[in-house]
Each structure stands twice: as C-alpha cells, then as structure tokens.
Symmetry: C2
Subunit: 143 residues, 2 copies
C-alpha cells in the first residue's frame, strides 16, 4: 500500500507520524484529481474537524520538500495544486475550464535536442510541460 511506503520514507527523515499528517497523505491518495491545499483541507475536515488549514500547508510543503509530492501552478489561477509523484517523469493534461489535471505518460521532449537548441550557455536540468485544452466533460458542456 502506498500510504505505508510514504510513511516509511517520512520516518527515515526523522519525521513524526501524526494523525493529520497521515490524513493529508491519505487524502492525496484518495483524490482522483490534483487538489488544492484548500480542497485537501475540506476533505480532511469532514472526518477530522479540528485540523487547521496551516497544518495542511505545512504538511504539503514538507511532502514537496521530501520529493513525494510536487506542486503545479495552473495558468490563470493563483493556486497551486498538489500531486503525488510516486511515478516518474510525466506531464499533464490541464483542463482550462474545470482545472482538472490528468497525467500523460508521454514525453515528446528530446533533452539532447533541447540542449543543442538552448546553446552551451544554459545548463538544462529539467523541464515542465503542461498541455492545455478541454476535458471530455467540459468539451461537451461548452458546446
């Protein structure tokens, strides 16, 4: 199970496993989309009304630091959404209407060719590709 594996990693880093920390991870696992901090908060509040939003932020940031989660900022919005990054390199299909982001296990980027295009002045370490458009639901709804 994913939860335990992540908790294991946290323990290795010397972090304590509190109920709210466990809840944050569990919540991320449950979401079928990439939630904002607020959405995680509301999700957890349902079963655990005493959590503070700041605790959610602190835990999300911790997970980002550890490398278990990455934060993506959607264009236009000033919110970040959080994604469990258990799997490796991939990109996202971001719906411009509802904000839903899905993973796309396909990377058209040729780092080698990119480095050539960028020239030797700039040392490439990574890239982020977000693909914008409309998801199935929104595509039909907007018609």
């Amino acid at each position: 199970m994913q939860l335990e594996k992540i908790i294991q990693k946290l323990k290795e880093k010397g972090c304590k496993i509190t109920p709210q920390r466990r809840a944050v991870i569990q919540s991320l696992l449950n979401f079928s989309k990439f939630p904002t901090a607020l959405e995680v908060f509301n999700d957890i509040k349902a079963t655990n009304p005493d959590v503070g939003l700041d605790t959610i932020y602190r835990n999300l940031n911790l997970l980002v630091e550890i490398g278990i989660v990455n934060s993506i900022n959607l264009p236009g919005k000033d919110v970040k959404v959080f994604e469990l990054s258990i799997d490796g390199h991939h990109h996202h299909l971001v719906c411009l209407n509802c904000g839903q982001a899905d993973c796309l296990d396909y990377c058209p980027i040729d780092e080698q060719g990119l480095q050539t295009a960028a020239g030797s002045e700039f040392q490439i370490t990574g890239h982020s590709l977000e693909i914008y458009g409309y998801c199935h639901k929104c595509k039909s709804a907007l018609k």
Copy 2:
C-alpha cells in the same frame, strides 16, 4: 518602432493612451529580462513618481487580455513575470537561481503526436513548456 505599433492596437480596441500606459509598454520594451509587476512599477517610478502600483497591474492585465503580453509564473515563486509577446510561439529557459527567463525559438512539440497520446477524450488547444536550469552567470557562480 514597437511602441507605436502597440499603441495603435490599443487605440483600435478603444483604449485611451495615457502617459502611464505608455510608460508601462515602454518599460516592458526596455527590460532585458521579464519583469514582475513590481519591477515595472519601480522602473516607472524613477521618472514618474506618482504612478500607483495598481495602475501597473491594471495596464499589465489589459495588455495580457489584448494578447500583447503574456504572464508566466515561475516555479517556486508566487510572482508572475510579464513578457511582451510580439513574436509567436516559443518557450523559455528559466534560470532556477536568478529567475531570469530567456526565449528559446525552438519547439520540440508535435501537437499531432501529442493529441494521439492524449486520446480523443481530451481536446488540446495549446501547451506551455518551460525549460529549467542554470544560466551562464549562475552556473559559474554556484560552482
């Protein structure tokens, strides 16, 4: 000159050309990097101490709406930087250390192949590719 061309476009949209609006455009033209709203503000304040930061924001947003400028959000930071988009489709080399962003006139994306990979459920309308790494200055400085 670029300034006049942009002003022409604004006039077509029925916008008035105020000194501060002209100053915002001129400032964007002058910058050798992509500035934040605050940087544009400070630049303009030097010669025109009475402008309000809000006017800068309003004008930048106007220019974004008209399509003359696009706003990019840097990873990690919660600021947007603004770029004159006189030229067409291109991407950016973003320095993770100093935040400087340069244009890269190269696009490795094959929209066709991408659409195939995404499947027919999702209708692609565009994409954003940011390339991260270290610029020449920071590369040597960090060594």
